[in-house]
Amino acid sequence: MMRWAKNLAMVLLLCGAAGCATVGTDPRDPMEDFNRAVYGFNEAFDELVGKPVATGYRDIIPGPARMMVRNFFSNIADLWIGANNLLQGKPLDALTDWTRFAMNSTMGLFGLLDFASELGLEKHDEDFGQTFGRWGMADGAYHVWPFLGPSTTRDSLGMVLDIYVDPVVRHKPRGVRTAMVVTRAISKRADLLDASRILEEAALDKYVFQRDAYLQRRRSLIHDGEAPRAAREVPRAENEAGEVQPQPQARPVEAARLTGPGRQCGARERGAAARGARRAGGGDARGGCARGLKRGLGCFPSSYGSRPRPRRRQLRLARCCSPWRPAPQRNPRRRARRPRRPASR
């Protein structure tokens, strides 16, 4: 497995250096042809092996037992989830994760039971890809890896680290390790059976649908589900729909105030910015201990939750109105500091 991870790193480096790219139409996916080929392979493998095995697992193993398997691996993962939370500057979340690990490993019988969740210690989802994202690293190109599926350049780097430090992968003897890795993969695939069926029904072009869903999902995870809504692409068309159904209020005025001078953007941008402004307004109501309460941690008198989460610097891949347009800045002082990093595209 380790050698294999090394190979992955090599491929990554080669891709970066030589630009093993075919020309695609989407700027986020410069290697679309290659990715589609790998995607086709993954689909075929899933159809032949993944899905049948996962379905069999779900049909044969009773629900409670499957839950214990899920909990067991989830508990092991909490260790590094905690470390990643610490690296992302969220010590209280990290503390939650490690408390979860301590409780579930003992009272929860080696993690088979998820006691901590019952007590309100919420499970988090973090990995090194997210940590790098939090530190300001951009997605980079979209990749599809054999067996591992969708990723980006940043998330692939994270994944190499994730695999390298993974206690399950490091476990010895080898036989037990392989059994654990396979069991975990089956358990994960079984959990995704419903989701993959819905994807099957919903998508016109599954590759594109999955890619966009992956990129959106990662973005949301990096922001812990609180990704600024304004940075979503709200098309001009929505304003035009407003002509058919009159909008109750004029947005551009508010938007102009928010974006300020120097941002020469289209109507689409303004619409998005106006949403952001409203969102920011709503933010006042949820400051204070709301965040702490939300996480079931009670209201902390310390700085926890009482100040807005620090804005992450986003790599300036983005330009105005591009799909990666960075969120409108709420804090003008931060904005002044930003040209530190030149646009890389």
Partner: protein, 189 residues
Amino acid sequence: MTPPDVLVKTVTLEVVDIIQKDKEIQKGDRKKVIALIETKVLPHFNFLAMTSSAVGRNWDKASAEQKLRVQEEFKTLLVRTYSSAIAAYSTQKFDFRPLRAKPTDTDVTVNVRVMQTGNQPVTIDYDMEKRPTGWKVWDVRVGGISLVANYRTEFDNIVRERGVDGLIKALQAKNSSNETPAAAVVPKK
């Protein structure tokens, strides 16, 4: 006018309750779930906004008739997807988050979380807008994935290659292929 968070809560709980009690739905009667979604959930969606937003910049290019047909086909597709999703989640516990907005806001996001053991909760965010007829949903984000935004690239590609009529055909083909009997709606637990 019912506040948006109350609306989401009552409608979700009502639908989930019906799904859990209905024997035919439990056996996998998809038509019934879809009919349920159409009567209970659909009136609270603004499909014009959703469709125009998903089609994006090509929306101008479509004629009035094409717009209507895209909207109808997209609605069929979304209702089906949504009914699968709600049925898959119906056995889980829902956590309705308090609304984080001022009373004067006309554009809010209602957060719902589906609690799962051993996994991080799945968030469902309803982006809603106040309209004369009540609060209407114009986008649904599941786990941070916006339905509308996710269709945008797909639609864009199809319109670029095959025009708006091509998009209508693709949606029709997708909808009719979904008509073929699928696996049971409610997952085996």
